[in-house]
């Protein structure tokens, strides 16, 4: 009994310590997604992946952002994504395989693609379910209204 007690006293702190470290590590790990890796080596384009971008207290989405660092790079991005030469921003739903291809929400994972001429940037918001789809719409509405 005494032996079991001693073993528990020694093992329990170590187990708890490992649990704490594991929990901490789990929160920090966010591997680069396929979408980020697809664009990360594009010349003259700064690319970032924002994991768990919060839309509200309970819903997060992953976002890949592309920002052209030159006029030439922005021109290439416009051609690749089929962005018209109009001022302001354009937005559409694209497929995860081909973000440029316009699609309709059908319950399958899609991308909300937003292109801004002013910022020479394209944002790809990964929507994996209807909850994220609705939360993104609410987020946009709230940001515009407020």
């Amino acid at each position: 009994m005494e032996n079991n007690n001693t073993v528990m006293k020694r093992i329990l702190p170590i187990a708890m310590l490992l649990l704490a470290v594991f929990t901490g590590c789990m929160r920090e790990s966010a591997p680069e997604g396929a979408l980020y890796l697809r664009y990360a080596s594009s010349p003259e384009v700064a690319v970032a992946q924002v994991s768990d971008f919060s839309l509200n207290d309970t819903v997060q989405v992953d976002v890949v952002l592309l920002q052209a660092e030159s006029d030439e790079a922005w021109q290439r991005m416009k051609e690749e994504f089929g962005i018209a030469d109009t001022s302001g921003s354009t937005s559409w739903l694209g497929t995860t395989d081909e973000p440029a291809r316009r699609a309709s929400w059908n319950g399958q994972p899609l991308l909300r693609v937003i292109a801004s001429h002013e910022k020479r940037a394209v944002g790809l918001y990964l929507l994996e379910n209807e909850v994220q789809y609705d939360a993104l719409m609410d987020y946009q509405l709230n940001r515009i209204v407020n």
């Binding site: 702190p13 649990l19 924002v50 993104l136």
Partner: protein, 95 residues
């Protein structure tokens, strides 16, 4: 009275057959054992505090567009991560 430690305990324990060492062991052991238990308790307490506080800290972290929960990877080392979070937010306003 000599200070009890692991080596002395082993030494006294080995010699405990002789009565004078047995009495020394009996005299020194309780205080030493109590110290050991206190030390083990403190380590267990610290580990428990850490184990509980880490998940709780993450659970109650601030959420929202600038939440520190967001993790950013970028192909440009010199660009601040917050800039990307802001850009993700700003693009949603422009669409």
């Amino acid at each position: 009275m000599a200070m009890m430690n692991e080596d002395r305990f082993e030494d006294l324990w080995a010699r405990a057959g002789a009565s004078e060492y047995a009495s020394q062991l009996a005299a020194e052991y309780p205080a030493w054992h109590a110290r050991q238990r206190r030390r083990a308790g403190m380590v267990a307490g610290m580990a428990l505090l850490l184990a509980v506080s880490t998940p709780v800290f993450h659970m109650f972290q601030r959420t929202g567009p600038h939440s520190p929960q967001q993790h950013v990877v970028c192909n440009r080392m010199d660009m601040p991560t917050q800039q990307w979070v802001d850009l993700a937010d700003e693009l949603l306003m422009t669409a």
